[in-house]
Amino acid sequence: MDINTYKAQRAGYYKVLGGLLLLTAITFIQPHMFLQNATFGVQLMIGAVKAWLIVMYYMHMKGETLIGWTVVFAMTLVAFFFIVVMVDVDHFQNMEGSHITSQPHIEVDYGHHTASHEE
């Protein structure tokens, strides 16, 4: 690597650092300054932009066709599972017997009489 390429790439690293620091600052001020009702979504959007910068420039994914598509395929699979599970959550039908919802109502059959308690 010649000195000019080195300097150009180093300058690129510092620019990305600046972008990431700026986005981190926005992460901190957002819940107090704007879109307070959508903090969860906004925070994840900022995270996604930061992730894109890291993958493209720090992880040298820019210009990598084969590896790039491999990553896209894996991320699509993860996204698919996310969507399927979230749709399932929207139609949750087992609140009473669930162990991941609060205070499930459990019926315990002791033969002749039934005890009922809450966890």
């Binding site: 690597m1 180093r10 990431l20 925070q43 720090y58 993860v78």
Partner: protein, 228 residues
């Protein structure tokens, strides 16, 4: 000390010597293989984030309440520490490729120091939480006693300690890999021309950073602006 590439030599049963055609000569193969490994990591953490999102949708208010009690100053400091460490690791690789081996080693040392700072801050944070009675195994995170937190908070803290703990394990592994990298550089096995090991360890460190980019908002920021 010489930093020239030293080929590995294998001797067959007839005593004839052969140069080992290993991973050092196959940069693209090494890179692709390591990306495949990293995708398994992404899917593992992806499943944890999915679980977290699922619980969040069921216990929205409990999650926001629990998140508002986490120390955002320490979490934010760790975010910046990791961000700078990703830069030093990347600059180290650039220096190695440009022929500045000493500079590359200095950058790796700087990254190791930043990794220890991250772990130190995390230890302070966990100690603070333990002193407040919030830790895995303590009454507050067990259901059915007088100190029990609301059920959603128990899930939140369970996931929080699991995921930040798993991330911490990755940081410790990263430190081990960087120490190993320094030994390989000193032994002349990683050089300006043959630096795929350096490249892949830098990739690993970026992955550790990448995971934190989502861990931080998921745990620390969703409860920001809610009074604590």
């Amino acid at each position: 000390m010489s930093h020239e590439y030293v080929p590995e030599i294998a001797t067959d049963r007839n005593g004839k010597k052969h140069e080992v055609q290993g991973w050092q000569g196959d940069t693209y193969g090494g890179k692709l293989g390591f990306w495949l490994f990293m995708l398994t990591e992404i899917m593992m953490f992806g499943a944890l984030f999915l679980t977290l999102t699922y619980y969040y949708s069921l216990h929205h208010q409990d999650f926001i309440e629990a998140s508002s009690h986490l120390n955002r100053l320490l979490g934010g400091t760790n975010t910046v520490v990791l961000l700078v460490s990703a830069l030093t690791m990347g600059l180290g690789l650039l220096k190695m490729r440009a022929g500045d081996v000493k500079g590359a080693k200095l950058m790796i040392y700087a990254t190791i120091i930043l990794a220890f700072i991250f772990l130190g801050i995390k230890a302070v944070e966990w100690t603070e939480e333990y002193n407040h009675g919030v830790f895995l195994g303590l009454d507050a995170l067990q259901s059915g006693n007088e100190h029990s937190r609301p059920f959603g908070q128990i899930l939140f803290y369970g996931m929080y300690f699991t995921m930040t703990g798993l991330h911490g394990v990755h940081i410790i592994i990263g430190i081990g890999l960087m120490v190993w990298l320094l030994k390989r550089i000193n032994a002349g096995k990683v050089t300006t021309e043959h630096n795929i090991l350096h490249f892949n360890i830098a990739l690993y460190w970026d992955l550790v950073h990448l995971i934190w980019v989502f861990v931080f908002p998921y745990y620390y920021m969703i409860g920001a602006g809610h009074g604590h």
